[in-house]
């Protein structure tokens, strides 16, 4: 039977899911973890078919966990449970290895999403894992301040810098600002890392909204 790994720091939610999931005993098995660190331990020791995670958690948060999963288990599809689902995020549904379920949800709704994801398995063309675009949208959604590092073979290392969920700067090799951001959004098969933001102040190099930037990247890609 398929193993699902569910990660959330809310004990009330975990108790509720445990009680309610008894009736899906013959459909899937599951592990519960209360933060990213516990989840990574389970990912190291068990075969997991699907990851279901919250984003805001202590120690290692959901984004850190997704970055880890993307790097070491890129074949595991993910469902993100979020209280701040945005319309632009919802559009990625079904197309991606990454799906969203908006809080609040019933145990039944989550069980259905889990069973559908297990049945579907890996969507075609999703071998490159979670896209950079998805990560950028989640950082914005969670209003995070972070340094997001992008590594690819054959390309120079790049960085995105977010402050309170706003994209402030990007650097990729010799490129800076909007041009660097667009170049990195277009890259497939990347390894990403979250770094602590540096102590010193980073000047703002991007004033364009993230959605506009993503549209611009898509437009240029279409034009070839």
């Amino acid at each position: 039977m398929d193993n699902v790994l569910i990660v959330d720091d809310s004990e009330m939610l975990m108790n509720y899911l445990e009680e309610s999931f008894a009736r899906y005993r013959d459909k899937f098995a599951y592990f519960l973890a209360k933060d990213g660190l516990e989840a990574i331990e389970i990912l190291k020791n068990e075969t997991i078919a699907l990851l279901v995670t919250d984003l805001q958690m202590p120690r290692i948060d959901g984004l850190g966990l997704l970055a880890y999963t993307n790097r070491y288990h890129p074949h595991i599809p993910c469902i993100v449970m979020s209280a701040h689902g945005t319309p632009s995020i919802k559009q990625t549904l079904h197309k991606d290895i990454l799906q969203f379920i908006e809080k609040p949800f019933t145990a039944e709704a989550l069980a259905k999403a889990i069973m559908a994801a297990l049945k579907r398995g890996l969507p075609e063309g999703s071998l490159s894992g979670i896209s950079i675009m998805n990560f950028l949208q989640m950082i914005e959604m969670e209003q995070k301040t972070c340094l997001f590092e992008v590594e690819t073979s054959g390309n120079p290392k790049g960085f995105f810098y977010f402050k309170g969920g706003e994209l402030h700067h990007a650097v990729c090799g010799d490129l800076k600002g909007v041009e660097a951001a667009i170049k990195m959004i277009q890259i497939e098969n990347t390894t990403i890392n979250f770094r602590k933001p540096p102590g010193r102040k980073i000047p703002r190099g991007i004033h364009m909204k993230l959605t506009a930037l993503i549209l611009e990247a898509a437009r240029r890609k279409d034009e070839g």
């Binding site: 809310s10 009330m12 939610l13 108790n15 509720y16 209280a83 019933t106």
Partner: protein, 221 residues
Amino acid sequence: MDKVLIVDDDAQLLLILTEALGKYSGKFKVMTVRDGLAAIKAMQKEHFSLVVTDIQMPRVNGLVLLAYMARNFPETPCIVMTGYGTPGLEKRLARDSLYYMAKPFKLSEMAEAIISHLDQHIMLGGTLTGVSVTGFLRLVEMECITCLCEIKSADGEKGYLFFNGGALYNAFYGELRGEDAAIRLLKMNGATIRYKKPPQKKINRQIKRDLSALLAEAEGV
């Protein structure tokens, strides 16, 4: 039928509670709201037999709601849900007629608490008292709140208790300051309480003893 109002900013928790308490729809109805202001508005519109509330919420928090209830619905019992449980606290609050449940709690425990409160209320013919001044102050302490509590006696005399991070720092009553003012305020009969935002300017600490010691002295223990 009895109606129960549940107040919490966590929408997921509200949904879980609504689903779990749906089993008791023959006994009581549940309405949920996301903050204290919505709760006050709901209470103004319809009658609730019981209020279940969280304390830490954005905009209008649970303390504002409890102070409002103590003034306007003193007979409505209340169950407080909080994440800041300390041993022995349940008993202390129970004495002050505030029932308390530490998160995370079992859903069945919440259902039992609600039913026992509703039954008790009928049994006592509606004499169960709601939020008391003492119960309110103990919550301020427990939740580590910084605020100014206005205490007003039945004949209109008023004074203030200042809490900083849950510790009673100072009290003001006429010309009195510090512990003397606090004890006079805690001794007031039929007092009502109002929750106020802390003032911008710094207030010095003039009270060293903790709230329990002062309450004991005020009660003449």
